[in-house]
Symmetry: C2
Subunit: 323 residues, 2 copies
Amino acid sequence: MKEFDVIKRFFSEQAVKRKDVSLGIGDDCALIMPHERQHIAVTTDTLVAGVHFPLQTEARAIGHKSVAVSLSDLAAMGAEPSWISLAITLPDTDETWLSEFCAGVFELCEYYNVQLIGGDTTQGPLSITVTAQGLVPFDKHVSRAGAKAGDWLYVTGELGDAALALRHVQGKIIVEDIYKAQIMTKLDYPKPRVLAGQSLREYASSAIDLSDGLISDLEHICKASGVGANVVLDDLPISNILRDTLGPEKAVELALSGGDDYELLFTVSEDNKVGMETALAHSGTAVTCIGQLNGSEKITTTLDSKPVPITTSGFEHFSHDRK
Amino acid sequence: MKEFDVIKRFFSEQAVKRKDVSLGIGDDCALIMPHERQHIAVTTDTLVAGVHFPLQTEARAIGHKSVAVSLSDLAAMGAEPSWISLAITLPDTDETWLSEFCAGVFELCEYYNVQLIGGDTTQGPLSITVTAQGLVPFDKHVSRAGAKAGDWLYVTGELGDAALALRHVQGKIIVEDIYKAQIMTKLDYPKPRVLAGQSLREYASSAIDLSDGLISDLEHICKASGVGANVVLDDLPISNILRDTLGPEKAVELALSGGDDYELLFTVSEDNKVGMETALAHSGTAVTCIGQLNGSEKITTTLDSKPVPITTSGFEHFSHDRK
């Protein structure tokens, strides 16, 4: 099959047609309309087969995840997702595979009213790069750099299930059958916290999405904001599955170091705590306070009010951790 | 070396700082400011090692080409390049290689005042995906769809040298030593026709950049515009090198079918011919009229005023032509 036919057939027939897209797929460029008094947030993520997802991952999950990880970055900025460009490198043109991949992409696009405006299809080892763009009103974005000593540290949802699922797929950890479907969904179909991110615009002093692991991502906030943090390990939102499977100590370790959660880690001043909790309750998002920022420029952890050393660090693509 | 260090060290220290970039590299997203009454043109291209460039290509050329092919798409739309996002998948972190790659990227960015606003660095087989964005005033873009029967068909520059260089590298064609440097520059360091593209906003009825080969790209204009075209082979701007190396007949064949020219192919109405030629002379761009559009919805070619069959077709990534 010719390259152009692949693109045309699978990527041109999407349901989302936004009014701010003046020209979509099919020309040298797409054309989008600017919005008054809105910044455009832009983020790019690449998923490489065997590095960012196990080789046996189903096509629909790969399509979902390719979009979800970029929408998660937009969420961390408080942006409303609007347009994506999708570049896919494929070893061959398996039509069933492509059809399922596109189903995964478009399910998420339709849910969030995101239009696919362009991309590229090339031949080579499987990888996908998505550039996602979204809108955020002037001066309402949430960066990594606004956290202050005294602010409270929060996280959405639960931690560590996706990392547990990955280690299960890799054969490193045995997971009981009744748990498998639930944790595999966390790994394969992460839900970007898009609505929560927009709710945080008015309240959070900083935010980041958890892709590399809690400690590693918290380091980014601390460095960008020039602060330190203490994480209260007793308060980490760890699922029953993770605790049952690994026991409390190892569960905490994986919750701190495992990647792929795609939850939001964010900071809120004392004054904004109540407002934030109310707003996130309205968006149906569970949040947990897991610590507090300080002026130390270090990250510490406590358990049962006693300091404990941090023994883990986040996922690094070049550290041979997950090849 | 850790992923974050790679990104920080090589990609964060660029010279271009645009006023419309409110937040650059280093957060979950970049933030760009919209411009009043300007569309944003968006295009994405992936280059895979061994498919889109020979494996032995020097790093600086790969960096240059990664940006040039996307700027060429912006040029074909009449857009002014503004921002790029660059995703690179690398087998390892060779610092010399990365430094030269970045030199190739930033030379072009600095020349066109394009700011790198984000991207991703991942491990895997070498490939690069660039999403480039540019600005074009409302209703001034040049699409593929505006050509009309009777319009004249033009092309910038000369055709076929890059395709000749590729075949030389592949060992398929022997090229004289005195010619090698010049044709390799055409293949490795294509010059996107950015100024010419902007000059065409007022005059061209349609435009496309030549990446897949003249006939193949002309087909896109004809399909999008619902027209046909006759190409006068006698008038093709073929370089002396190409003619000397292959002889007139094979030279024409390569000029019609070879990819990687990154010249602009465009159409102009009779009324706009003089204005266009004057404007492009001001931008220092050589142009050649190579045919005329008609109502046939077919592409034909003539030589010495006699019809000749088309024996070649453009480069298709999945056609095993250039693996």
